[in-house]
């Protein structure tokens, strides 16, 4: 009778131990997920903190200005051989009304 009692107690103790272990695991897992314990989920985090060279974020692109540069345009030395260039014409239309109307619209 003593033997069966001992076995029973042992079984209960083992069962309680197992449950405690599972419970502790679950608590630890949930706390770790929420960050309540201040533990990072990133693997090799300690290694990165000690490493002074960090890899660049491969998804960030940096643009370079590839627009064409305007070099100096030198027209010195080009000798004019004419008196007047172009045809001049005076128009009879008055543009002041157009200017005033557009100024009012743009306000």
């Amino acid at each position: 009778m003593n033997d069966s009692y001992t076995v029973l107690i042992s079984s209960v103790l083992v069962f309680m131990l197992l449950c405690t272990g599972v419970l502790l695991f679950l608590i630890g897992y949930l706390c770790g997920k929420s960050g309540a314990l201040g533990v990072s989920n990133t693997a090799y985090d300690g290694h990165k903190r000690n490493n002074s060279v960090t890899s660049p974020n491969k998804y960030q692109s940096i643009d370079i200005d590839e627009s064409k540069f305007v070099t100096e345009i030198n027209t010195e030395g080009m000798e004019k051989k004419y008196i007047e260039l172009g045809d001049t014409k005076e128009s009879s239309e008055d543009i002041s009304r157009s200017i005033n109307k557009l100024k009012n619209l743009k306000r």
Binding site: S67, K68, V70, I73, N74, T75, G77, M78, E79, K80, K81, Y82, L85, G86, D87, T88, K89, E90, S91, S92, E93, D94, I95, S96, R97, S98, I99, K101, L102, K103, L105, K106
Partner: protein, 334 residues
């Protein structure tokens, strides 16, 4: 004081204030033709032969004819005059393009009457049918700004068709559509109450007609251009001249192409406003001066299911100077 400048592939037009709010225009043909003498004797003879023409003598001893004299000389020699601009922007292929353009612009605009005088010049919009990597509006804008700022102006740019809207849509409270049909490109602007809402361009215009007609008839482009500009023809109607018949046919194809692109670009465009009333469509530019242009354009808009209601398609009052006038207006407002 202020000024407006239309920097076109075929013509450069300056608009400045005249007396009593009138406008004074100065225009010049944007072309050049180089003659390189082979001997010192040839140099003297050529210079004598060019007397009375508009030309310059370059540092290497070559003679560079400018403007319509360049075109006439090229035709005499069964050749084609060169141009500093190609398809609306500074030509990347012409070695001397920047230098010649700089020279012509400096001569046309002169020195600013006061330091920092405002000058607005026009630039084309990004084309919807161009895949050429050499087409660089930003670079063209920088080159022209550099030249004009060097003359003492405070230069800024606006879109070519936007300038046309400012010149021609005053009676419509600056609401409507402008189509600027130049030599190199066709530029379009849809404007609502003075604000441009849609801007785009196509690279088929007057030069395309010249090129296709030249191939069809076996004549140089310069000859085709001269006959087109001086000839009496109506778009869509045959002519006694082979060149003019070809030009007439290609004109019709060009208008069809332009109106198809217009309809496609505006159908379902997210920036297109909902207009309450039918719109005025104004056309300008040298290429639009051919007889029958407005009639055919109106017909093709209908045939190609243009998505907006059109009140009327009309020609600018002064098709060659309208863009420069719009730039001048912009220089006093913006």
């Amino acid at each position: 004081m202020a000024a407006g400048l239309d920097v076109g592939t075929s013509f450069i037009v300056l608009a400045k204030d005249g007396k009593e709010d009138r406008v004074v225009y100065k225009d010049f043909r944007d072309a050049f033709y180089t003659i390189k003498p082979s001997t010192p004797v040839a140099t003297k003879m050529i210079e004598k032969g060019l007397s009375g023409k508009v030309f310059i003598k370059d540092t290497d001893g070559s003679f560079i004819l400018l403007g319509k004299d360049a075109i006439e000389k090229a035709i005499e020699r069964n050749d084609t005059a060169k141009r500093p601009m190609h398809k609306g922007v500074v030509s990347a292929k012409e070695k001397d393009a920047k230098k010649i353009l700089a020279f012509i612009l400096k001569e046309v605009v002169g020195t600013a009457s006061e330091p920092g005088e405002k000058l607005v010049f026009c630039v084309p919009a990004q084309p919807v049918d161009q895949e050429d990597e050499d087409f660089d509006v930003g670079y063209h804008e920088d080159v022209v700004s550099t030249i004009l700022n060097g003359c003492g102006y405070s230069a800024r740019s606006i879109n070519e068709a936007e300038a046309l809207c400012y010149a021609e849509l005053e009676s419509e409270d600056y609401t409507g559509i402008a189509v600027s049909c130049g030599a190199g490109m066709t530029n379009v602007c849809v404007m609502l109450n003075g604000e441009p809402t849609v801007l785009f361009s196509t690279t088929k215009s007057g030069d395309w007609i010249d090129r296709m007609s030249a191939v069809a008839t076996g004549e140089p482009d310069s000859v085709v251009q001269a006959e087109k500009e001086g000839g009496d023809f109506t778009i869509g109607k045959p002519s006694d001249s082979n060149v003019l018949s070809a030009v007439s046919a290609y004109y019709e194809r060009l208008i069809d192409y332009t109106t198809k692109n217009l309809a496609l670009a505006l159908s379902g465009h997210k920036s297109l406003p909902k207009f309450k009333n039918p719109l005025v469509v104004v056309v300008a530019g040298g290429t639009s001066q051919a007889k029958g242009y407005v009639d055919i354009f109106t017909q093709k808009l209908q045939d190609n299911n243009f998505p907006l209601p059109v009140k009327v398609v009309k020609h600018a009052s002064d098709p060659l100077h309208a863009v420069a006038k719009g730039c001048l207006i912009a220089s006093k407002v913006l």
